[in-house]
Amino acid sequence: MVDKVTSHQSPVTSKKDVRISIRNLNIWYANTQVIKNVRLDIEKNRVTAIIGPSGCGKSTLIRTINRMNDIIPDAKVKGEILLDGKNIYGDDIDVVEVRKRVGMVFQKSNPFPKSIFENVAYGLKINGFISAGGRSASGGKKKGQLMERVEQSLKDAALWKEVKDRLGDSAFDLSGGQQQRLCIARALAIEPEVVLFDEPCSALDPTATAKIEELIQKLKKKYTIIIVTHNMQQAARISDFCAFLMLGELIEFDKTDKIFTAPSEKVTEDYITGRFG
């Protein structure tokens, strides 16, 4: 139906704005290969969506970008992921540093069994922020900023108004959508450069989903965003670029408009029009 692009690896992103560059990435669980030679460039301050049928490796792919696959005992990663030009799988890389720069919001909201405030403050405290009056190991240089940062993060996650009078309540007293936004606030608090979302709305109703979509639109001014989603409309609404993954292979990667109006591959079209998967 349209002119067929000979290689999906053609640069659709402009070279100078690339924040993350995935090169020849292969991933195995034990002996099963689930990601096959994927190449993908992620542009900064844009939303890149990853779509594809269940089990095609979307979560696996996105989790490698902040090395969360390290904690799966028999996962093996080969290839490169360049974050601002530096391979995060290189030998001289501090994994903890990578995760501070690349935040993650999980499919199922997973607040800590602590208060709302403590949830957002957790990452800050680990990074040496302390509450007014407290003392930190790093000499108290960030004293007193904790409250401001918690407030700012909750505002960024569009949750502040709903929780400002109950910061001491348990995070489990919040609704599902609020819990997910709390997890977003928690991820934003440490000011990462990239935020990964793995199906952040899969457990939410349309209203809560709309809120989070709106939020992601706003966040891209400050952050680079990668989102896995099962929802085609969602991908079409919020993303600038879209990657279609199937059986561990990157079938097509392009501007979202192009993918949804004139996909180069037949399978992509079949998938987004719901003819399978």
């Binding site: 904690i71 005992p73 903890v96 995760r99 501070k100 997973n110 800590f112 957790y122 990452g123």
Partner: protein, 284 residues
């Protein structure tokens, strides 16, 4: 239809009967001990030194002795057991070696307690030269309950949702920070509950302290961890098997048994209180 109902009736009947028998046995034991022991229990019995060849006076040295032994066992076994459990579940690469270690620990739990007693005698009393003492007995009891503590702690760690760990790591926390700030606070109640139940059991053990800590009779209360002590379970054993005045010794033995039973029940109820308090807060 009738037969199915009948089957169900019989099935539940059997289960109910089994429960009833267990309860009955429990109450029979408690009743038996209480009826025979209550006669000698009074304030003096709990707070005074024995005299007249154990047939009169109190059992304070035995109560204190058991208390010291248990405290010593906890101080030794709880940190060690918890640390081992953290290592085994959180750090160690799960593989053949760890499986073998786990099997070893589980088998340790099945070793007869008198064997621990012999071990304690050979290692703590003789080899380390601690002598017959609170220290030797406490360490032996500690080793006895170590498998219980490790297993309880491992189970407590495993029920902490993996998503908590992921959330923490994804925020740039190190593994140790994650364990200290997220995993342990959520596992500590389970660890304590399981461990305390194990400790309750240790308090009533005779064999492990037989060769390592106890003496039938001392005039003095223990002055240091190198003192030998009297202990409740051994006191009962001694009253029933030694001495020359069984008619006066036997009631004292039952009184001691009653004290021991209440001590163990007391320790166990601490565990239950801790568990309930934490369970109310837990919501995942």
């Amino acid at each position: 239809m009738i037969s199915r109902k009948l089957k169900e009736y019989i099935g539940f009947g059997i289960l109910r009967l089994a429960t009833l028998i267990i309860l009955l046995a429990l109450f029979a034991i408690l009743y038996f001990v209480a009826v025979n022991g209550i006669k000698v229990i009074n304030w003096q019995f709990l707070t005074q030194m024995p005299h007249s060849g154990m047939t009169a006076g109190g059992i304070l040295p035995a109560i204190l002795g058991t208390f010291y032994l248990v405290v010593c066992a906890i101080c030794f076994a709880l940190p060690l057991g918890v640390a081992a459990a953290i290592y085994l579940t959180e750090y160690a690469k799960q593989g053949k070696l760890i499986r073998i270690i786990r099997i070893g620990i589980n088998n340790l739990a099945g070793v007869p307690s008198v064997v621990f007693g012999l071990f304690g005698l050979a290692v703590f009393v003789k080899f380390f030269g601690f002598g017959i003492s609170i220290l030797s007995g406490g360490l032996t009891l500690g080793i006895l309950i170590l498998p219980t503590i490790i297993r309880a702690s491992e189970e407590a760690l495993l029920v902490v949702p993996q998503s908590f760990r992921e959330a923490s790591l994804a925020l740039g926390a190190t593994k140790w920070q994650t364990i200290r700030k997220v995993v342990l606070p959520n596992a500590i109640s389970g660890m304590l509950t399981g461990s305390i139940l194990g400790i309750g059991r240790a308090a009533g053990e005779t064999a492990p302290i037989l060769f390592t800590a106890v003496t039938f009779y001392t005039m003095r209360l223990p002055r240091s961890i190198f003192s030998e002590v009297q202990a409740l379970p051994y006191h009962i054993y001694a009253l029933m098997t030694e001495g020359t005045h069984p008619e006066t010794q036997i009631p004292v033995a039952y009184g001691t048994a009653l004290v021991l039973v209440f001590l163990v029940l007391g320790i166990d109820s601490i565990a239950i209180v801790i568990r309930n308090r934490f369970r109310r807060r837990k919501k995942w």
